[in-house]
């Protein structure tokens, strides 16, 4: 009786600041202010590049973390968008190049990438578990060889060059600051969409399918349709990353979508951690920093050995990547009384 008198539960509606969380706000401010302190090199080669590869990793993290489907074809999806930009927009390789304005070419490219991603998904969800990684790797490799051999569409070995990032609203996005903010804007959008989507009905259904597909099927859910739709959504993010990537590089060639690149995306996602959408961005930052500065330590030639070893160590000691390491050490920093009993 006393209990009911004591507290009348007020449904405290958390305001939007609480919803976002202090960590996100601090991170957001830091990222927005980053151009004030960073040089052009740090802005694009580190900042922009990490954000782009973070988005590619994010599309993999979404499939792997929420859907249980580890894909090696995310760079292929991104590459399809990149090639579409080169084909529909302008390039100076004297092949195709329809000259569409960017605001038509980019959405169309992303849509085509998303459809391609759904097709890849539709093929790979015919089987389950570890087969996905095999099938997507086979698709990624076959696409790479196809792009290399085919001159009519992909312009063979050399690919397309001379693709320029668009200038709009009086802002030239080739400018480092503008390009950084462009990448940051889309990354935040994709990140927020994934965070929101993971708690939506669809996101929860997808996670339930990951945990027990048979039960979900028995409950009347269309497991295949949910998985393929997840591939479609991942394709949108991957395609977006691909468009930014081709604007960043100014060129796209079979090397962009090679097996090395496909594995790089997986490495980024795994090093960062597949449990939370922030993981791929962390992983991308670590890998890009290593790519840039480890060359001074081990020389440009042996970089792959280093990254491979780092990857092996991460997989061995912490399957959840950097996020997993953080989760392991976090209790040690908290207040004595809050530490889990041991």
């Amino acid at each position: 009786m006393t209990i009911s008198l004591q507290s009348t539960p007020v449904a405290t509606q958390p305001n939007w600041l609480d919803k976002i969380g202090a960590g996100h706000i601090l991170l957001g401010i830091a990222l927005v202010l980053y151009p004030l302190v960073a040089s052009d090199f740090f802005l694009t080669q580190i900042g922009g590049y990490s954000l782009i590869f973070g988005m590619l990793g994010l599309s993999l993290m979404m499939l792997a973390g929420y859907g249980g489907m580890v894909s090696l074809a995310q760079i292929t999806v991104a590459g399809i968008a990149a090639y579409c930009i080169a084909i529909f927009g302008d390039n100076n390789s004297h092949l195709l190049g329809f000259g569409w304005p960017w605001w038509i070419a980019a959405p169309v490219a992303i849509l085509i990438a998303a459809i391609a991603s759904s097709l890849i998904g539709w093929i790979s969800v015919r089987t389950e578990g570890i087969y996905t990684i095999m099938i997507t790797l086979a698709i990624a490799t076959a696409t790479f060889y196809f792009a290399q051999q085919n001159y009519a569409i992909f312009n063979g070995h050399s690919g397309y060059a001379g693709i320029r990032a668009p200038a709009f609203w009086g802002v030239n996005s080739r400018d480092p600051k503008a390009f950084y903010y462009l990448c940051l804007g889309f990354s935040v959008l994709a990140y927020a969409a994934i965070l929101y989507g993971s708690r939506s009905t669809f996101g929860l259904t997808l996670q339930a399918i990951r945990d027990n597909p048979r039960r979900m099927r028995a409950l009347g859910f269309n497991v295949t349709a949910h998985k393929v739709f997840a591939w479609f959504l991942a394709g949108i993010i991957g395609g977006l990353g691909g468009v930014l990537l081709v604007w960043f590089n100014g060129r796209v060639s079979p090397g962009t979508i090679g097996v090395d690149a496909a594995i790089d995306v997986l490495i980024i996602a795994v090093i960062g951690g597949l449990r939370h959408p922030i993981g791929p961005f962390l992983g991308a930052l670590v890998v890009v920093l290593m790519q840039t500065f480890a060359i001074d330590l081990v020389g440009a030639e042996r970089f792959n050995t280093l990254i491979g070893l780092v990857f092996l160590v991460i997989v061995f000691i912490s399957p959840d990547g950097i996020l997993g390491l953080w989760a392991k050490f976090k209790p040690n920093f908290s207040q004595e009384s809050l530490r889990p009993g041991r």
Partner: protein, 349 residues
């Protein structure tokens, strides 16, 4: 699923031919057609469609020999995957490492056979080490095993690049395997009535023969020996095999040794027929992946069928639609997944 997968012989209907007989007849007709295509002198219209008989028969022969190589690589891959659920994405690196080791040994000692033996033995030892030191620690976590194998393949590819650089090597074929043989296949008839016979490198025929012998040997090992019985039991139910008192870790190590050794062997043999260069590891990894997806995991006969399909598709594609050849491989994979997701000879579970 199980209803669909019932053996076709059960579908006997009263009076007519059974499904099995119909399929038998179909395959007989296909075999007859192929035999006619290979041995008959082609009429002009056929030459017009298929470029020339020489191109066609050469493509088929090249496809079959390539299939032999693919089979050697993929049979190890499929056994390892079938038994240990370990998608060893470093399998292509094993092939390439075998080729480099074979090259070094063969060119330093001058004995090609020694190179082949070294390729097999060294890679078998490496396979055992990989299984015991790395993969056994992660048993039951197939995603982590696969990730680790990716890491190994990256490091291996980079270290091989450091040691052997980016150049292309060719392992010298010994004299007794060199040269060309004339096959009893008439490619054309000259205006003076003399027949032109097809010549083909003897070495490639020897590779094919070796692949067939090893294939039969593997089949015998799997079906007639005690170890083979354990391996087959392990493919079907690993936990049960372990519970019946078999030392599964020893079986795993044996299978890894055989699989990795075969990849190394194929590396030396393939490096003599084709060439050794960085990037070959990915090519053979792709072939192994597609062969296993098409053929079904853990099945030697499935690997043989898959390798044959992929080898033929690749070589025929190369001749008839050069820039779209890979698409053919791709289509075979997609069609198999659409009709039989578990692969042609795979068991549904």
């Amino acid at each position: 699923m199980s209803i669909l997968d019932r053996p076709s012989s059960s579908g006997i209907s009263g009076g007519g031919v059974s499904r099995r007989q119909a399929w038998g007849l179909f395959w007989l007709l296909v075999a007859a057609l192929v035999a006619w295509l290979v041995f008959a002198v082609w009429p002009d219209w056929l030459n017009a469609i298929l470029i020339s008989k020489k191109a066609f028969v050469s493509a088929i022969l090249n496809g079959i020999t390539l299939a032999g190589l693919y089979f050697l690589v993929a049979s190890g891959f499929t056994l390892i995957f079938g038994l240990m659920r370990n998608v060893n994405l470093a399998h292509g690196s094993l092939y390439l490492l075998g080729a480099y080791i074979g090259y070094e040994v063969a060119s330093r000692t001058g004995y090609w056979l020694l190179g082949v033996a070294a390729g097999f033995i060294v890679l078998a030892a490496i396979g055992v080490v990989m299984q015991v030191v790395v993969f056994r620690r992660l048993e039951g976590d197939d995603l982590r095993q696969t990730l680790v194998s990716i890491g190994i393949s990256i490091v291996a590819a980079d270290l091989m690049l450091a040691v052997w650089a980016g150049g292309t090597y060719q392992i010298a074929v010994p004299e007794w395997l060199d040269g060309a043989v004339t096959l009893p296949v008439i490619t054309a008839v000259r205006s003076n009535g003399a027949s032109v016979f097809l010549t083909y490198p003897f070495y490639r025929i020897a590779v094919l023969a070796a692949a067939i012998v090893i294939g039969i040997g593997l089949w015998l090992m799997l079906n007639k020996t005690r170890v083979g019985m354990m391996i087959r039991a392990g493919v079907d139910d690993r936990a049960m095999l372990s519970a019946s008192g078999v030392n599964v870790h020893a079986v795993f190590a044996i299978v890894f040794a055989v699989g990795a050794g075969l990849a190394g062997f194929a590396g030396v043999v393939g490096g003599s027929a084709l060439s050794v260069a960085p990037g070959e590891d990915i090519r053979y990894l792709l072939a192994s992946l597609v062969v296993v997806i098409v053929g079904g995991m853990g099945s030697i006969s499935g690997a043989a069928i898959g390798a044959l399909l992929i080898g033929l598709a690749e070589q025929l594609g190369l001749v008839y639609f050069p820039t779209y050849g890979v698409v053919l491989t791709f289509i075979i994979m997609v069609v198999t997944l659409a009709i039989r997701p578990q692969g042609i000879m795979g068991k549904s579970r």
